[in-house]
Assembly symmetry: C2
């Protein structure tokens, strides 16, 4: 159970130049995306770098919802120079891309699939030493600043996969609540749903001492190790903060208390799921995002169809937790209660339906699209979505309940409409 | 806000040989104390080392409640060899001694006072690279496996002081609840009180954004940074676990659930106070331990008078929290409620007396000696105790309430008798 270095506070981003100077950085790679490159978070970082005379180059070509191709472009940029520190300013897409760039630039001989999760890639352990990476998250969602995971769309498979190794965990996350004031309403909602599902999935993940296989040698154990007494603390705490603040944070971009609480919740949930893992909502979200046809999410300024990560995750959550509840009804009831349900007279066997209903009401209140059908899928697409979920074993095997392809089919079908 | 690598589970200690093999260790320094050297925790480690062919040397001369002299002996042992990994098997005394040995062996030119906290030592920042240290805690108390702190008695000053740097934080803590079954009843009680005070003090410590001075350069900020949203989660959670399990853990050494819960609570509280810091109970405990006359604690097999650390900390707790409550009454009320008090009709201004009474009852139930007078102090000793507290600024300045020498005098006097 490992955790993360986080510095939190309004305005901490202004200190980054001093940190880089303290580290003796001579050639910094600053990664971000086009939209952010003209917004205050990046400007603040650049001003701090200039003020402390830190030499740097900017890469602002990160793709929102990155792909293998966009990862490779960032890697090529990093490999053709010799950076000694990386700085990622952005959401999960930017931080994940920067992790990959740092990893492959530190392993110049490695081929792209070497470190990608098996069975899609070779899942080789990271042996070299990476450069320090400072992550400055500008969304309150992925928790990528706390984790050793980098996710991308593998385009030829139409599914998301990733790289998971403690070695790519950022050296420091600078969590500055002022940045989240720049999130559009739907970005705040969708990234908040990612936090919601990180909490719920990690809290209900298969317990660490029931996960199989159980490699006798510690070096072979996965980063996602199942729910455990340390991750539980974070997952539950994050869920409480989400329940209290997400609606305010979505509705009022100026509500600094709510937005900064959600920012911290994303860190808390990140530490939780970074240890425990996520399961079915995330496993099923990868083909939902990967098979996108023409859906263009509101509030996202991108040049390609996209189902935002948080939305792709949350749309199956009522069906998923209805399905998993029988394995640990107490935790599902506790989650429903935290999200506002009255559980005083509810039987254990009703934990699933209750949490599902609570989530549906929660999503309805937050004006979430009405299920997978609203983002362009029909019943005919379900076989492809199931097929895209099968290789996501890294996460789906952490589901507390074993499942067949038929179960997955049922879960996708039950998620076509929510209300 | 940094955290720690912890591996938790019954029997995890048996894996240590594999870990050392994975790390390529060629010459391991195993530190422990005489009593432990013949008990199962050390035996288990030695068997695992033998099984995996790990070359090692044993140093079992660690002093319970270490001194500058005993630190120096361990440092000399480490310096005359060239160890590539350190393993500490024991309570806080062993882990702290091993941290110091690793630090000074990695800085062969350093003089002893170089890294000791100012104003007693020079408080120089650690610049070199230390060897990995694996800590295997056998008491549920100090949380030393999670912190960058090493405490010792500075004999000529008759006070405890220490070394504080993130650089000495163990690489990995192996938390094996089976080890805590070997703790005698009073060791379980006193180490549990340390956990209790870590939680209470870190939860009520001065908030991180009110601490002064506030060094503009992050490199100059102290390890103990004041209470903050991350440490709060740990401190409060640890307090809940202590409240639920300490009595069972003390009374029944075979109660694995209670003892292993207290073991985890010590980790949780360690992560909390390792970030936030402790304040008056700890600051005042150092002269209480350092000025010991003839008191010999029950259940401790040592050849010198000793007030065990946890006891020296908890004896002033009723007076201290009565004094600090006006600065953050809500947190003191919350703590009293967690410890079993009915707070439903209590006014904010009564938070201090209520928490003090709750603590007195708690200590009485656990058969704690009746105040400082029961460990050999009279009113005449108070000026020395106050004098010994003054240099403990590293912690006392984290008190939420400013205090004069007169205040300290009053706190010691109020702690002579508890019941």
């Amino acid at each position: 159970m490992a955790s993360s270095n986080i510095r939190y506070g309004e305005g901490v981003t202004r200190e980054i130049g001093m940190d880089l100077q303290n580290m003796g950085a001579r050639n910094v790679c600053l990664m971000t995306d086009r939209n952010l490159s003209v917004l205050p978070p990046v400007k603040t970082v650049l001003e701090s770098l200039a003020q402390h005379g830190v030499n740097h180059k900017v890469y602002d070509e990160v793709r929102v919802e990155p792909t293998d191709a966009s990862f490779k472009e960032a890697i090529a940029f990093a490999r053709k120079d010799s950076f000694d520190v990386y700085v990622a300013v952005g959401g999960g897409s930017v931080i994940d891309t920067c992790k990959a760039a740092n990893l492959y630039a530190s392993h110049p001989e490695a081929e792209f699939l070497d470190f990608v999760n098996a069975p899609i890639g070779k899942g080789k352990p990271v042996t070299g030493v990476l450069k320090p990476l400072i992550a400055v998250p500008t969304t309150a969602g992925t928790g990528s600043e706390t984790t050793g995971v980098a996710i991308f769309d593998f385009e030829e498979l139409k599914a998301k996969t990733g790289i998971a190794s403690r070695a790519i965990k950022p050296t420091l996350g600078m969590v500055d609540p002022l940045h989240t004031l720049h999130m559009p309403e739907r970005v705040a909602a969708n990234s908040g749903f990612d936090v919601l599902c990180h909490s719920l999935e990690s809290y209900t993940a298969l317990p660490y001492n029931m996960r199989k296989p159980c490699p006798p040698n510690p070096i072979n154990r996965p980063a996602y190790q199942g729910s455990n007494p340390i991750s539980d603390v974070w997952s539950r705490h994050a869920l409480n903060v989400v329940a209290k603040y997400i609606k305010r944070a979505v509705r009022d971009p100026e509500d600094l208390e709510a937005r900064s609480s959600m920012h911290l919740a994303s860190v808390f949930a990140g530490i939780g799921f970074g240890n425990a893992g996520v399961h079915l909502c995330h496993g099923m979200s990868y083909p939902i995002a990967g098979n996108v046809k023409t859906y263009r999410a509101k509030g996202y300024n991108v040049d390609h169809p996209v189902v935002p990560h948080g939305l792709s995750v949350v749309l199956t959550s009522p069906a998923v937790f209805n399905f998993t509840a029988p394995m640990c009804p107490e935790r599902h009831l506790e989650a429903a209660e935290i999200l506002g349900a009255d559980v005083s007279r509810v039987k254990r066997e009703d934990a699933g339906p209750l949490l599902a209903d609570t989530l549906r009401q929660f999503l309805y209140d937050l004006q979430v699209e009405n299920g997978l059908s609203a983002v362009g899928y029909t019943k005919d697409d379900v076989p492809d979505l199931v097929k895209g979920t099968i290789p996501q074993e890294r996460v789906t095997k952490l589901s507390p309940r074993e499942h067949t392809e038929e179960d997955l089919t049922h879960l996708f079908e039950a998620s076509l409409k929510l209300y």
